[in-house]
Amino acid sequence: MKTQEEDWTLVIKPSSGLFDLQLKEVWRYRDLLQMFVRRDFVAVYKQTILGPIWFFLQPLFTTITFTIVFGNIAGISTDGVPPLLFYMAGIVGWNYFAECLNATSTTFIQNANIFGKVYFPRLIMPLSIVVSNLLKFGVQFILFLVLLGYYILSGAYIQPNLTILLVPFLIILMALLGLGFGMLISAMTTKYRDLKFLITFGVQLAMYASPVIYPLSTLPEKYKVYILANPMSSVIETFRYAFLGEGTFSWMYLGYSTLFAMLVFTLGVLIFNKVEKSFMDTV
């Protein structure tokens, strides 16, 4: 007599399969994702006078600093592109990746308080981080476009080209990389906190191992391989090439980054999912 007694809608078991991602549930909680994004956006700049203007100021000042330090003082070449544009293109892209990574990597530890009391698909958290950073990226991207427009109108030699069509894809790559690495680290730091110390300065160091402050073309051949091993390198280069017409664009490099991003992301999701079930006991 197998009647409705067996008709359970929810079964809580010790651990489920590696690939049991419960994406259906993530979808059911999509409103929560929206609320988290809203919270991040609204709450951060409450009780500030400048409010969302801070979104602009941060990349702007970094760009100016880079222009002065690397462009003027150190005299690093920018491939003939106006230095302001050159650095901002790199910074805007890199920032998105870095902030996704940094914020995602503390998901479990930062939210232990909420996670310890109520259940919702934990994946919502990193996803909301990526989305709210995407909005931030959007704002900074507009700033970049305004600057770009200004230079074009004032007659600088800049050639945006059809590669621009790849930009949405580049954004996805950055998100996947940030999310993937972030989730991996987040899952691994629940029990052992060692990685936490690595991550903040690691991300900073990784920036110097990517063509954010120098064009790939000026590098000696023998170093190029190492820099290109950083999956963000070709993403930044392609981004710059699309808008500024200078830089290295290669399907092969981009293909490598794509593969890398998908691998890291898949691994990140699987391990994150594995850890989320009982991380409360060890966090």
Binding site: Q4, W8, L10, M35, V42
Partner: protein
């Protein structure tokens, strides 16, 4: 009725102590067993979870082999003293953490209120937090919007609804949070200790809402609280947890009895000595002292039981003397609340040296719950000269009785539990 929750052989193991390098070696060992297809070596070890005794293992079973079922519409009270596994059980049910072995099967949406106000953001307004909190608890935006007015009016915080939550008092926070949770509309609701805060009026509202939810809507509620009054009012059935195991699964009255029965009576209820080691001085020695439940000797003390003190004293003062016995009763804060003495209640009596057996009783329904101590016992000569003084003679714990009056806050209301004193109120206009 349908079974909506079925718990099968549920166990949860925790590791005690700090996580350090030892953890890594255990992890590696566990992994090594796993890849060879062997059983987790640490699942076999583990002590029962009794926090008062020092165990031999680093692993404890917070829950061990729990089995029970809950039918639709039942309000199940989960009772047990601190550390019995109540919260662990609720955590497993609400999927905050996964069980070590066993399974929970459920029908319908489970929502939990393990401490309300989860995910409240200080900077956001009350209204914004309703949406955020609702979404965390699993509501969709449309659902929240349709119930928004109801939630706000239930919480009684209309005035502050567009003020950041950081300006709220703790009571307002709880009201708002409970209001959101109460409008969740899940098939199964898990409630833990929410009623501890909030004023009497709000508690009444909250309990009413939970009753309405379970009776009217056929919803199932699992309820954990130390407020026995609330548990008894709300629950139809109960389970008693003790040291991680299921002790009883029965009606709430039976559970309550069992719970009180296995509560360790705090205090030092009796003492006895031989003449050689008896405390005292050259005037007198205390041979024994005890406090006894007058209704049911050997049973625990509640606010409703009367009790008696009994002392055996060996008096070695020479000659026939006029003697009195006095005891000082202190509450747990060390405040002297009562002095009992033969000097106040008796005509002077004279005794020669030898054994004195003294009994005195204390009526029921005077002392409230708490721990009480006979801090001083005195042998007094000629109504003024202390011949011998004993300190910290006895202590005993009085437990609350569920069917007694519990104050508005649900907690202890003063030391004295006397309600039948005469009042005379006149009114002029």
């Amino acid at each position: 009725m349908n079974t909506v929750i079925k718990v099968e052989n549920l166990s949860k193991q925790y590791r005690l102590g700090e996580l350090g390098t030892g953890t890594l070696s255990h992890d590696l060992n566990r992994w090594w067993h796993k890849i060879r297809g062997k059983e987790d070596p640490y699942l076999k070890v583990g002590d029962l979870n009794d926090r008062t005794t020092k165990g031999s293992s680093e692993y404890v079973w917070a829950l061990r082999d729990i089995n029970f079922e809950v039918k639709q519409g039942e309000v199940l009270g989960i009772i047990g003293k601190n550390g019995a596994g109540k919260s662990t059980l609720l955590k497993l049910l609400s999927r905050v953490t996964a069980p070590t072995t066993g399974a929970i099967k459920a029908k319908g949406r489970i929502a939990s209120l393990l401490e309300v106000g989860t995910g409240f953001h200080e900077e956001l307004t009350g209204r914004e937090n309703i949406f955020l909190n609702g979404a965390i608890l699993g509501m969709t935006k449309a659902e929240i919007r349709s119930k928004l007015d109801e939630i706000i009016s239930f919480s009684g915080t209309e005035r502050y609804i567009d003020t950041p939550v950081k300006r709220y008092s703790s009571g307002m926070r709880v009201r708002l949070a409970f209001a959101v949770a109460a409008h969740l509309d899940p098939e199964i609701l898990i409630v833990d200790e929410v009623l501890a805060v909030g004023d009497a009026e709000f508690q009444k509202k909250a309990i009413g809402k939970m009753q309405e939810v379970s009776k009217g809507g056929g919803k199932t509620v699992l309820f954990v609280s130390h407020n026995m009054e609330a548990v008894q009012n709300l629950c139809t059935r109960g389970i008693v947890l003790s040291n991680g195991g299921l002790q009883l699964d029965s009606t709430i009255e039976e559970c309550f009895k069992a719970y009180l029965g296995n509560t360790k009576q705090g205090g030092e209820l009796s003492k006895s000595y031989t003449l050689d080691n008896a405390p005292g001085n050259f005037n007198a020695k205390l041979l024994s002292a005890k406090v006894i439940n007058e209704h049911d000797p050997g049973s625990f003390f509640t606010t409703g039981t009367g009790f008696s003190f009994e002392f055996d004293i060996y008096n070695q003062i020479g000659g026939i003397q006029q003697l009195d016995i006095t005891y000082h009763l202190f509450d747990e804060r060390g405040i002297l609340i009562y002095v009992g003495s033969t000097a106040v209640s008796h005509e002077p009596q004279k005794y020669g040296s030898g054994f004195l057996n003294i009994k005195t009783s204390f009526p029921p329904n005077i002392l409230n719950e708490g721990i009480y101590t006979i801090g001083r016992l005195l042998l007094v000569k000629n109504r003024g000269h202390i011949m011998t003084e004993w300190k910290d003679v006895l202590s005993f714990e009085i437990l609350p009785l569920s069917n007694g009056y519990i104050g508005a806050s649900g907690g202890k209301e003063g030391v004295l539990k006397i309600y039948n004193l005469p009042w005379d109120i006149s009114y002029t206009n």
